[in-house]
């Protein structure tokens, strides 16, 4: 066994063991859930079995059908999540592929064009997966939830034909964009990319209307009858979800593309390949983290709108049944930020001159750790009776205050600023400002950070002394001040480092392998987070298909335990990555040589890249 292959087998082993453990856990948990559900539904099922045979006359009376073994809910849940993950990827990649292509077009740097094409190569297979999973989901909804599907069709029927037509248009633009690479003039190709993005985003907006309607229905009368299709589309959480998904898709897509770069880096045989895929991983990660930074703000807006729509939904979401999932979310996001910063710090090793910034790493790490702790601290602590008595209740007098939004918002804002500072140091790695006002510029940047951090902390503390409405409003100046800091510091930095002196090269490809594993970790964590938060958004309705309008009367009309839900999401994530591995493998086939008759095997690959002439290294 060659040394190069060890990580692949280790990863395979980990995946297989994780899959086995997850399936075992889910199976055990599932058995328990099913027993509970069976107890609840035994009467209903008996009635169903004893009921009349389905005929054309009474076919509309079927409300549910049962999916074998795992039940209808879990089956639809897994397929919907897989469809969503692929759809997110397929929508996100064209966005940043186009941006990278545009950078290449304006800078005349061929590397960017090549990178954009490399990203686009992942799209073709992913698009087929998305479409297949979408079709499967539609069939499953029609088969297993006919009544709900009929109702949603009644509300949204005018949107279905445009959706399908747009899907055709997307297929056309996507394949023209991919296969037309280098075949059209750059302007025509860029126009194709713009059209692809516009169509893709519109498709997502339409689908978002269907699912957000189920959470926060609008455009209907008290009995659920349709009053306005536009009203149903523009329901209360439609735009927050649109914005949140748009940003999240980019973060997710970037992380998967970075994982692809990492995968190719670890298997690269030449220095050129390593340099290219190191760079690809870096760009993917940059995109992911750049999109991650504003994501908490979009999520907060969504949560606020849910609370505003209904106190009940808001409390179920943040303070009630699903609140513990937000602790898991905090742990995962804390890990995301930690891993993203870690990647940047390790990456500095390949930048000549970045050693001078190493001394700052411990302070950045301390800031991330403290913010991570604050974000992950629950409001009511898990405690034994004895521990609770010592604390005087389930809220710790000191830590209890960290469990509410004032503290969380403060932590996340500082976490974002810390990550931004890591980016700033990375960017400055091998450069030295030559402008006469460099010292003043640094001082002003430092002051901006100091003032903004103090302001964010002040508002966080002040939030405890004002009423809820004011406290919630304080998140806006917190966010704006952080955005101000990031924009103003970036502007100063751009001017300060114009014509900067280079103190050494960036040695692309000379990066430790552990940085690439950090990219895998980021991709898996993003995906897991998407699955968990997707479950929260959908599960929020609890025993309603359409909240307050159509009740879920199926045997699955109960909220599963946290462990069971996490298990289902984990298995879904593993299935997704199995599919993604197939996508990666298929994407790599085009770089391989043709099969040679007589030898029974393919000729050895030269790696599919010839980057020396592009000045990659």
């Amino acid at each position: 066994m060659s040394k190069r292959k060890i990580p692949f087998y280790i990863i395979s082993l980990i995946v297989v063991v994780s899959l086995a453990v997850s399936i075992k856990n889910v199976a055990e948990s599932w058995q328990l859930q099913r027993e509970l559900a069976r107890a609840q539904s035994v009467a209903g099922e008996a009635a169903q079995q004893a009921g009349p045979q389905i005929t054309p006359e009474n076919s509309h009376t079927v409300e549910y059908r049962k999916f074998p073994f795992v039940g209808s809910r879990v089956a639809v849940w897994v397929i919907a999540e897989l469809h969503l993950m692929f759809a997110a990827f397929v929508l996100a990649v064209p966005m940043f592929a186009l941006i990278i292509e545009l950078i290449g077009y304006y800078t005349k740097d061929k590397r960017y064009d090549h990178l954009a094409y490399e990203f686009t190569k992942l799209l073709s297979t992913s698009f087929s997966f998305t479409a297949s999973l979408g079709a499967l989901l539609t069939f499953m909804l029609i088969i297993y939830y006919p009544k709900l599907t009929t109702y949603l069709i009644a509300i949204f029927s005018p949107t279905f034909l445009p959706y399908v037509l747009l899907f055709f248009a997307e297929a056309g633009f996507l394949y023209a964009y991919y296969y037309g690479w280098g075949k059209f003039s750059p302007k025509v190709h860029i126009a194709l990319g713009v059209a692809l993005n516009l169509v893709g985003t519109t498709i997502m907006f339409i689908a978002n209307a269907w699912l957000t309607f189920m959470n926060t229905p609008a455009g209907i009368n008290e009995s659920g009858g349709l009053l306005s299709v536009w009203g149903a589309i523009t329901n209360f959480t439609w735009m927050p979800i649109n914005i949140h998904r748009l940003i999240a898709n980019v973060a997710f897509g970037g992380s998967i593309a970075a994982a692809y770069g990492a995968y190719k880096f670890l298997g690269a045989r030449s220095e050129e390949e390593k340099a290219h895929y190191d760079w690809m991983g870096y760009v993917g990660n940059f995109i992911a983290i750049a999109a991650l930074l504003p994501l908490p703000f979009a999520g907060y807006w969504l949560g606020k709108e849910i609370y505003a729509y209904s106190q009940s939904l808001g409390i179920v979401l943040m303070g009630g049944t699903f609140s513990w999932l937000f602790i898991i979310q905090a742990v995962l996001i804390g890990n995301l930020f930690l891993a993203a910063n870690y990647y940047l710090w390790v990456s500095m090793e390949r930048i000549e001159g970045a050693q001078r910034f190493r001394k700052f790493i411990k302070y950045l790490l301390a800031s991330i750790t403290v913010c991570f702790i604050v974000w992950a601290t629950p409001h009511s602590l898990v405690a034994t009776v004895e521990e609770a008595r010592r604390m005087g209740g389930s809220h710790h007098p000191m830590l209890g205050v960290l469990g509410v939004m004032s503290a969380k918002n403060t932590a996340v804002n500082i976490l974002i600023l810390t990550t931004y500072i890591s980016f700033l140091l990375y960017r400055r790695g091998n450069r030295e400002a030559t402008v006469s006002w460099a010292k003043l510029g640094n001082t002003v940047q430092f002051l901006i950070f100091a003032v903004v951090v103090s302001f964010v902390v002040f508002l966080g503390v002040y939030g405890y002394f004002v009423e809820a409405k004011v406290r919630i409003g304080l998140s806006v100046p917190q966010v704006l001040s952080v955005l101000f800091a990031m924009i103003s510091v970036t502007v100063i930095d751009i001017f300060m480092f114009k014509n900067a002196k280079s103190i050494g090269p960036i040695r692309w490809g000379k990066i430790p392998a552990r940085a690439q594993y950090a990219l895998f970790f980021l991709a898996v964590t993003f995906t897991w987070l998407m699955g968990l938060m997707g479950y929260v958004r959908a599960g929020l309705r609890q025993h309603w298909h359409v909240y307050g309008v159509m009740q879920d009367t199926s045997p699955d009309a109960f909220t599963p335990t946290l462990g069971f839900a996490s298990g289902v999401v984990s298995v879904t994530v593993l299935i997704f990555f199995t599919f993604i591995a197939i996508v990666f493998w298929l994407s790599g086939l085009s770089g391989k040589k043709d099969w040679e008759a007589g030898t029974g095997k393919t000729a050895p690959s030269k790696g599919g890249l010839d980057l020396a002439e592009e000045g990659q290294s």
């Binding site: 729509y309 209904s310 409390i315 710090w345 090793e349 190493r358 609770a388």
Partner: protein
């Protein structure tokens, strides 16, 4: 805060700043300091679940620091290999191999030696309310409803004060025994309950909630808690059997007045 514990930790950390310790020693000191500060430096002590979580994060951060620099990582790798292969470390290695299971066994002993008690469990503190409830045959809208006497605060202060006085009477006749005379959840009966009664002075309890939520909790008590997120383990009586609607709204007014908190208002949907 337990300053007797925290002060020496801070002194050691300051001393560490002027000591030339290798990366392993440096990280070990930080880990131990964090453990001591989190476990013994905070009063009242944190539950073990939180200590575990915090230490998990600290350990992750220290591991990240250890592996950020290839030089540091190689130093640790070489040190570990030396410790495992160099003959001069045979005795310490043997002692380590023996000590590890002994430490695990000692930990098991400590756990087993503790007095039996119910296991720690995560609780959902805010039960999700229904959209409406029926109170003595009348529908109360929990989503869009308001305290009908709240508006008197601006329109008729005298009438408002009368409602507050009535709320005070209701509180001290019924609620004080569990929730306490200072509304901190330390009433005479409080120590018989698990979980303890809610502390209304805490800015993270009633200040976060709409008045309709409190109405629901007071009116329906433990029997009216939702089926999800069980067990709720609440001893709160359903006060709809003992109090009128007006008395409940009044006591809610009094709770906010007494604690100085303001109820959460229904937000506008954008």
């Amino acid at each position: 805060m337990n300053y007797l514990v925290l002060a020496p930790i801070v002194l050691v950390m300051i001393a560490l700043r002027f000591t030339r310790l290798n990366i392993l020693g440096w990280l070990a000191v930080w880990w131990i300091a964090a453990y001591l500060a989190i476990s013994y430096g905070i009063e009242p002590p944190l539950p073990s679940s939180i200590i575990g979580m915090f230490m998990g994060i600290v350990t992750l951060a220290l591991l990240a620091y250890l592996t950020v620099r290839t030089d540091d990582m190689n130093f640790v790798k070489r040190a570990a290999i030396r410790f495992l292969t160099d003959k001069k470390y045979t005795l310490p290695l043997a002692l380590t191999v023996i000590a590890l299971p002994l430490l695990a066994a000692f930990n098991v002993y400590l756990d087993a030696a503790k007095a039996p008690q119910p296991p720690a469990a995560g609780r959902t503190v805010h039960p999700p309310p229904p959209t409406e409830i029926t109170f003595k045959g009348k529908k109360i809208d929990l989503v869009n409803g308001v305290n009908p006497y709240r508006e008197l605060q601006a329109e008729d202060p005298e009438a408002f004060r009368a409602h507050l006085a009535n709320g005070r009477k209701v509180y001290f006749q019924n609620c004080v025994f569990c929730h306490g005379d200072n509304m901190e959840g330390k009433g005479l009966f409080a120590h018989a309950f698990d979980p303890l009664p809610a502390n209304f002075q805490d800015p993270t309890t009633i200040a976060m909630l709409q008045e309709t939520y409190l109405f629901w909790r007071i009116a329906k008590g433990a029997p009216g808690l939702p089926e999800e997120s069980t067990p709720w383990a609440s001893a709160m009586p359903a006060w709809e059997h003992f109090l009128s609607e007006e008395e409940i709204w009044d006591v809610i007014l009094f709770m906010y007045e007494y604690t100085g908190h303001k109820p959460r208002e229904k937000e506008e949907v954008h």
